[in-house]
């Protein structure tokens, strides 16, 4: 909402009447206010008016870091520590095959929730791959250098062709993000799509390939990868289905 004390006061009144009617109280201890383009003094003043704290930009919303900047490596530390905890568990009792399944079904699945919404930075992917390699080659022991029986990259190729079929995190990530492109291009009736169309394309029918339109969730990476695969990106049928490098299953074929 606009950074305006009177507006905030009105909202507070509304919330109070809502809580009187329904019994739902706002917990001001846990609530906070995040200023955008507002000076420090003003935001402090507004927070005092409203009765809550001032929050800063990347804040956690539904478990993900939400901010105007690209999320930093630091913000993925909950994910990294979660994976680390899993690593020292059962992997040492398993056979190669068991550990391979563990790599694909557990270690590649843990970041899925993040991957559905944000593009994972290369440094974090590197860290995730380190855990996966440790799990596969050195039985989860992070200190012992296990004997890597093969290079990692080709192992990510398909199993039918004789490789191990390990999921490539980056490709999986891009594939999962493709659905946003699909929804945007097909103008699905979803609030965020409507918002984007009203804001950016309200006078043209075909959405131009503006890099800003999907910037928050790694739009550039997405558009580059779709441009590589499809010469004219003004596609109407689902982009994800057409995507020719078979990333739907998250495995690189090319």
């Amino acid at each position: 909402m606009p950074a305006n004390a009177r507006q905030l006061f009105t909202l507070k009144g509304l919330l109070r009447s809502f809580s009187n009617s329904t019994g739902l109280n706002v917990n001001f201890e846990k609530s906070f206010l995040v200023p955008i383009n507002v000076s420090n003094e003003k935001s402090l003043h507004l927070a005092r008016t409203f009765g809550c704290k001032v929050g800063t930009m990347p804040f956690t919303y539904l478990g993900l870091p939400l901010g105007t900047m690209r999320p930093t490596v630091q913000e993925f530390s909950p994910l990294i520590s979660k994976m680390e905890k899993r690593l020292s568990g059962v992997s040492k009792f398993l056979s190669y095959h068991g550990r391979l399944t563990l790599v694909n079904s557990v270690f590649s699945a843990l970041p899925t929730y993040y991957m559905c919404s944000i593009i994972i930075p290369p440094a974090v992917i590197q860290q995730i791959d380190r855990f996966r390699k440790h799990c596969l080659w050195s039985k989860g022991d992070i200190h012992r250098r296990g004997t890597c029986l093969a290079a990692w990259e080709p192992m990510c190729r398909k199993k039918e062709e004789g490789w191990l079929g390990i999921i490539n995190i980056h490709n999986q990530n891009v594939a999962l993000l493709m659905k946003f492109l699909d929804k945007l291009y097909n103008h699905a009736n979803i609030p965020w799509v409507n918002l984007t169309w009203n804001k950016l394309y309200h006078n043209s029918n075909i959405p131009p390939l503006q890099k800003t339109s999907l910037a928050p969730f790694g739009g550039r990476t997405l558009l580059n990868s779709s441009a590589n695969s499809e010469p004219s990106p003004s596609v109407t049928p689902t982009l994800a289905a057409q995507c020719p490098f078979g990333m739907i299953h998250g495995r690189m074929i090319c």
């Binding site: 383009n37 918002l195 804001k199």
Partner: protein
Amino acid sequence: MYRSSDDRNKHGGDIGDKNLFNNLISDLELLEIPFSGRTYTWSNMQLNPLLVKLDRVFCSANWNLSYPDTTVQTLSRPISDHTHFVLSFGSTIPKTGVFRFENYWADHSDFLNIVDLHWNSTAYFANAAQNLSAKFKQVRKGLKQWRKSFLNFNRVLHNCDWVLLLLDGLEEQRPLSVREGSLRSLVKLHIAHLLKAKRNYWKQRNTIRWVKLGDENTSFFQASASICHRRNHIASLTDTDGTIITNHDQKAGLLWTAFKNRMGLSDYSAISYDLPSLLVEEELGFLASDFSEEEFLLVIKSIPSDHARGPDGFNGKFIKKCWQIIKTDFLRLFIDFFANCTDLTSINSSYIALVPKKPNPETVDDFRPISLLNYSVKCIMKLLSTRLQSVILRLVHANQYGFIKGRTIQDCLAWAFQFLHFCHHSKKEIIILKLDFEKAFDKIEHQVILEVMKYKGFPTSWIKWTEAVLKSGNSSVLLNGLPSKPFSYRRGVRQGDPLSPLLFVLAADLLQTIVNKAWQIGLLKHPLSDDF
């Protein structure tokens, strides 16, 4: 030494040491026994203290199997800068006096006869709910009696082993006679049965959803059960004054008052909005149409059999196994309920299980109260919620994402990302508020839900059904397996009831409506519009 970054109140510490320590623990195959009541055990006693979890208790896997009831309690810090520990252990997981159906009974050959006998030996009640609860009571009594005829697993297994050993020894001396041979195969069969029953017994004592098929590993289930038991055991609680309580009755009293105040009281006066002008009536006549028998059967199939049992002590496994015996009474309950001619009070009770929200819960607020409902009530709730789910998309605003089938949390996140992005680029002064409603599920007023339904065009009979399930609910708090005295619900929807999220979403949607209205009449302004 510490194991994870949560073990210190400040940043720092050597990550290499941490990994080394964790690897050593996993190399030695040790299990850590968590302690309850506090997070850190050592303080450097400075003004701005450094608090670390330095002291730990470990045991081996075998110890865990032999002494599953090992718990660690913390004491205060009188002299040392370390916390004192009290270690107590027992060789069995304590059983409670509360009746609970055991899955392994169902495999017994006498089981169905016993149930049949007791189910059909009770007097007939006109009230279907009362009828059902009386029958369950009788069956409980019968099964309790029958259970006594069972011998201790371990003793019988030991005896069987001894007999086998004897026969095997005999075989080395001379060939076995036909009778001895058949005795041996009989004993072997019996052992197989017992082992299966034992596995089922332990499997039911913890929830492991990731093992699906054919795991015969009793000791694994037993170990998980004791870990589970230890995690859920509440040894001490801190009350509002900061006093630590360890006495069972005092703890139970504290919990009962806390939950009674939260859900058993109502502050409702009136809704200060003009609902008819705010809400739009929808065509929802379909909600009140009659339920068919197929729908009933489908719902019974759809509820998993292994979920926690409610106060009547029976789970889906029992219902499915004995369906032919209990069918008529169950269907009568559904039919009578939907014809508004039964009072659910006698079966609509639940146990509140306390699930810790964080690793070392201290106060009542650190637990999430999950209600365990009776299977029969759960079926009714599920019937109602399946129907409501099919129309909910029309009823709540497109910006509400939680608990609604067909909307995904990813779109919600996408909206937030996109909106934030536009706000940032608009160069306008904007603030974002992240609000948290305290104890939202537990505190929402029943009358609000019903009023909102009324003005959204819900049929009268549907509102009556909802009112009946909301108003007849009562609950007891489970503390370490022992239930307290019950209290009845005056507000709040129960967590663990399939209908609750939908009712909550319906009522909470009112806020969205109000904010939208305020925007329409110009009280609030949209930050991205041009006119401010």
